[in-house]
């Protein structure tokens, strides 16, 4: 339900409570009921009940606690109505005990961290982790998530149903992993948040380059994670990275929707507040030590953020960051980006030599950015024929309209 369609002070109070605490309330309910759908349905009913009850009795002191208590009662009602199977009866028994123990407006604590680890559990397929996280922690509707990922809604709904069933039937727990498990499991959570951000930043197909709401959502989830796990350094590194990348949002898309390269961006259009916040977070992460991949990527973004004119970029510093990054994340994509930095720090030929290494070229053969990067270095070297060939190869591997237009422009410029 969207409480927005009920104006007036009570409607506004319900909406305020939902916006401020909806995530925590839903997480609490999922934790109590062990059932996503039951939790969501019960919360909807509680929101509807709030409109009526708060109008009659006044707005409670603790709206979030009221919502949890009411939703819990709705959940018990639902289970009682459907208590045909033995399983349901057992759930209902446990739930009614929990309910009896609850106070009328209990303090609700924060179950979101547990829920994050459930939604991003490696036992779930990656796509389902992303969708569940957006759905359960971002409060996005299935329709909104499907739209964001250019996916038919029934397909996404089906994927969510399967994921929820696995959570229930395989008993994927609602808990923060034990200390020895935490680093690996945290990586899975960070990857989901970064994936959400990137899906918003550069969708693999479709005609809009920047999808504003997914970027905002990722930044918000990253913020929640840093508050819930204040001693972990990589969430802070990730959040710094997201702020720094996001600061370029307005500058990285031209007036007709075409992508604008970092080099060509009008840096005055970078969001100074986001840059400031990103650098502040990076300092906080650096103070904790143990730099991981996200912090190192944020350091690279910070070099750009601190440089007013593209031609003044300290590429040697960036190469050093990539060297460190390659040791913790030895992937072809990192090696690709390092090759660019090497080319920019010296001459394009140095970067090209790295790119043409079969160990790099092989795994990236169908990655459009590999061919775009190669084309760009060839262009800088004045090797126009080869550059044109590489641009055409890049064109074969993307169906993003804005990127295709960019390739066309480059081909015309050659």
């Amino acid at each position: 339900m969207s409480p927005t369609d009920r104006p007036g002070p009570v409607g506004a109070a319900v909406e305020r409570a939902y916006r401020a605490d909806g995530g925590r309330v839903l997480a609490r309910l999922i934790s109590i009921t062990g059932d996503f759908d039951l939790a969501e349905e019960s919360l909807q009913e509680a929101l509807i009940a709030a409109l009526r009850t708060w109008a009659r009795d006044g707005i409670p002191d603790n709206p979030a606690g009221w919502l949890v208590t009411t939703a819990r009662r709705k959940a018990v009602d639902r289970l009682r109505r459907h208590a045909s199977s033995e399983r349901r009866q057992r759930d209902w028994g446990e739930l009614s005990i929990a309910w009896t123990l609850g106070t009328p407006a209990e303090p609700i604590g924060d179950d979101r961290l547990r829920l994050i680890f459930t939604c991003c559990h490696p036992a779930l397929p990656l796509g389902a982790r992303v969708a569940l996280t957006l759905r359960a922690l971002g409060g996005l509707s299935t329709a909104a998530v499907a739209r964001a990922f250019l996916m038919p809604e029934p397909t996404l709904a089906q994927r969510l149903v399967r994921a929820k069933r696995k959570i229930r039937e395989a008993a994927i727990p609602y808990e923060v992993p034990a200390e020895e498990e935490l680093p690996g499991r945290l990586d899975a959570v960070l990857a989901v948040i970064y994936l959400i951000f990137n899906a918003g930043y550069l969708p693999p197909s479709g005609d809009t380059l920047v999808r504003v709401d997914l970027c905002d959502e990722a930044v918000r989830l990253g913020g929640v994670l840093t508050r819930l796990l204040p001693d972990e350094v990589e969430p802070i590194g990730l959040l710094a990275l997201l702020h720094l990348q996001d600061s370029r949002r307005a500058a990285r898309v031209g007036p007709s929707g075409q992508p604008v390269t970092l080099e060509e961006q009008d840096r005055r259009r970078w969001d100074g507040e986001k840059v400031r916040r990103g650098l502040e977070l990076l300092d906080a992460a650096a103070a904790l030590g143990r730099p991981g991949p996200y912090q190192l990527k944020a350091q690279i973004a910070a070099v750009h953020a601190r440089t007013a004119r593209a031609e003044d970029t300290d590429w040697a510093a960036i190469v050093a960051c990539y060297d460190a990054l390659l040791t913790v994340e030895p992937t072809p994509v990192v090696a690709l980006n390092r090759a660019v930095a090497v080319a920019m720090a010296g001459v394009p030929a140095d970067g090209l030599a790295l790119l043409d290494d079969p160990e790099l070229a092989g795994p990236l053969a169908s990655y459009h950015l590999y061919h775009l990067t190669r084309a760009d270095l060839l262009r800088r070297e004045g090797r126009r024929e080869e550059a044109a060939g590489a641009f055409r190869e890049a064109r074969r591997h993307t169906d993003n309209q804005a990127e295709l237009a960019f390739v066309e422009r480059r081909l015309r410029e050659l």
């Binding site: 559990h121 036992a123 039937e169 395989a170 008993a171 994927i172 727990p173 808990e175 992993p177 498990e181």
Partner: protein, 115 residues
């Protein structure tokens, strides 16, 4: 929750009785069984004889069809199982990772269905 940990091995890479690594593997299984027992929850488990000892039965139209061999021909074959009690999937996954053969093959973790 009951989970079945299904062990699948590639005979090319998995130690064989009397071969290199076999004694260490058996000792590791002994330790694993002790660890399971120390949790105080019931469990069971056994190794299976190789797939060339398998016979597969299907009943079609009231007729029993008996075929030599396992039901699925794959590179990895079913070599053993454990049936354990756990609170949740994370515990079951931890137990699966402790199975010595997980180093060579794979362990599939499946909840036992409530019927």
């Amino acid at each position: 929750m009951k989970y079945m940990l299904i062990i699948a091995n590639d005979p090319e890479t998995h130690p064989v009785p009397g071969g290199p690594g076999w004694d260490e593997l058996m000792a590791a299984y002994g330790t694993f069984a002790e660890q399971l027992a120390s949790h105080g929850k019931p469990f069971s488990g056994d190794p299976l004889a190789p797939p060339d000892t398998a016979t597969t039965v299907r009943v079609r139209d009231g007729k029993t069809i008996t075929v030599d061999g396992p039901f699925a021909e794959t590179k990895e074959w079913l070599s053993g199982y454990f049936l354990i009690e756990c609170d949740n999937l994370d515990q079951a996954l931890q137990a699966a990772a402790m199975i010595p053969s997980a180093k060579y093959g794979a362990v599939e973790v499946r909840p036992v269905a409530h019927m």
